[in-house]
Symmetry: C2
Subunit: 345 residues, 2 copies
DNA sequence: CTGTTAGCGCGTTCAT
DNA sequence: ATGAACGCGCTAACAG
């Protein structure tokens, strides 16, 4: 029988007050608004805090102030690496503050998102970061009633709940397809997994450019509700070649799909970029070192996470950014998988 | 000027009590120990709860009971996909319960881990899940004093803080190298990124087998403190070929390194598996569809997350598993990258 | 089975 | 610049 884990007794504000020989409120003030406390008592309190090892009880703080130090982060999934990148940005952005992120995933279900928001509402979060702009009406309302700064991320919209930072996914789709056309590809397919709202908008961008060039053909659009994954990319490419054997390029809604598609080409002996051009989305680490390297539309997930946190922090500090809508942009990273044109001039 | 986000007034226990015409405690009991409340009042309360839309205030619960519904999850990083897999398991395992996971990352720093644990300690978590078994003495003590079930994950040890689930990393390393030797490889290199404790133990396993066969050679061991990444794999392979040009196989401490190494071989025209055998670690999705497919030592991260949660839940339900130490095992997934032997018999 | 009485540790008035 | 008093919403003893 091992010892039952003995909880260490927690030091509280009154303990500190006793040790420093001042009242509880004074300690509380010294901690939150030091400028209102004399230098002398401030030092005594700092001393007591240190020797006793006092750490505030967040539950008591939250209860008394009706406000927690939680930053709620709502993403659809953790399988897709882009959201892991976003989270890293959020975590790093919160570094050094006393705020704590709390992540949940919606599994791409709007009703689940509402439920999760309801849970968050009871926590009185200090701020909320939610992926996407396609919340249900109920979810939007819940976010508004949350009584804290809210940042939608990964996309842009003229009508955010509160603030928004991300990129224009449809425009990114257009840029990708334009690049392929510039390189001389014409029978350009679209490979899409999961087909969440962001994927839908990338597809819309694809359609914009294809129809503008009179290149539209339903046989070229291959999608699946399956989550994005390397293995799915291979299957989608196979389906495309069955549907449109003369396809000469693909735009993929994620880089794992793009890499999977490349592997499928290699299995079939299709030369990339000569016989098949490939453009991915998001510019994951892997596509810049594959053989051949894969062109991709880079998005700035990590930076988006960082900035979203900053937007919230500024708001909480009473200095909200004038800019409620931030376009994080995108970059078309041109690599070997689309370099069919002769180089340079 | 847009309306200031108006906080919705929260419904509390006393509101429900009023509506149901019973005392506050009765409501509280009806919610937590329904069997102690008569069917009649239970129904009245359920009604009131539903019509008022009552949701408990976790801060108040935590304060009054000195216990939160948080499950603390401490991982070193979110960059490595294996931890994202673990998190998915934890999230899914918590699905349907009223417990909420809270993730933090140590960035592979022991002192940071201690700090984070101190923060968790103030939250009175319901349970803790921590990656690895190499906590500092201070961290171990903090975990013990947490007063809640603790599960260490990703490795095994005869001496866990409380409970542990994971695999024997050193043994996994041995199995990988044994497989390469069985396939006829002899000049087997080790490619290791980051070199955290798990990587160290995989290396130890590699050393065990290599020296047992009299194949040891320092020139074959290439490591870097850099975080594991696809691009790092290429560099490590290049370094190995500079250090030991006659190397004929590699064991990599992660699959991104393995894939990066494969790409490097392709760039150099080295045929895999004929001229270079490759075994990765963890069996990420991507290595089963690359060309060629890559052999890897599969670990069960998702299942580990699920089980860790179950271990904690059982503990909280008063029915702790008799088994405090669980070996989640590993599997050597044999694929094309090491299939040098003639097939079948 | 149900209610009464006390806090949990902190923030927020209002005084001084 | 400092302190006393009260309450946040809930749980935990005890009574009845």
């Amino acid at each position: 029988m091992r010892e039952k884990n003995a909880q260490k007794k927690a030091i509280k504000l009154s303990d500190v007050a006793l040790r420093a020989n001042v009242s509880v409120v004074t300690v509380s003030r010294a901690l939150r608004q030091p400028e209102l406390v004399s230098q002398n008592t401030r030092d005594k309190i700092a001393d007591a805090v240190k020797t006793l090892g006092y750490v505030p009880n967040p539950a008591a703080q939250a209860l008394a102030s009706a406000r927690s130090r939680l930053i709620g982060v709502v993403i659809p999934s953790l399988t897709n690496q882009i959201f892991a990148d976003l989270l890293r940005g959020v975590m790093d952005g919160l570094e050094g503050t006393t705020y704590i992120p709390q992540f949940v995933n919606t599994r791409y279900k709007l009703t689940r998102e509402e439920d999760l928001l309801r849970v968050f509402a009871t926590q009185r979060p200090a701020g909320m970061i939610v992926a996407g702009i396609d919340q249900s009406a109920a979810a939007r309302q819940l976010l508004q009633e949350m009584g804290c700064p809210v940042v939608q991320v990964m996309e842009t919209t003229p009508d955010p709940v509160d603030m928004v930072i991300g990129c224009d996914q449809q425009d990114a789709g257009r840029a990708a397809v334009r690049h392929l056309i510039d390189q001389g590809y014409r029978r350009i397919g679209f490979l899409g997994a999961r087909m969440d709202p962001r994927a839908q908008r990338r597809l819309a961008g694809y359609n914009d450019i294809m129809s503008a060039h009179g290149l539209s053909d339903d046989a070229l659009v291959i999608t699946t509700p399956h989550p994005s994954a390397y293995s799915v990319g291979g299957q989608l490419m196979a389906d495309l070649l069955a549907s449109a054997p003369d396809a000469d390029a693909v735009f993929c809604n994620n880089d794992d799909v793009a890499l999977g598609a490349l592997f499928e080409c290699q299995r079939r002996g299709l030369r990339v970029p000569e016989q098949m051009g490939i453009v991915g989305s998001n510019d994951l680490d892997v596509v810049s070192c594959s053989v051949p390297t894969i062109s991709s539309v880079r998005t700035h997930r990590y930076e988006t996470g960082l900035t979203a946190v900053n937007m919230i922090m500024n708001h909480l500090n009473g200095t909200p950014l004038e800019q409620r809508i931030i376009d994080a942009g995108y970059d078309v990273m041109v690599r070997s998988s689309t370099s069919r044109q002769k180089k340079g001039g």
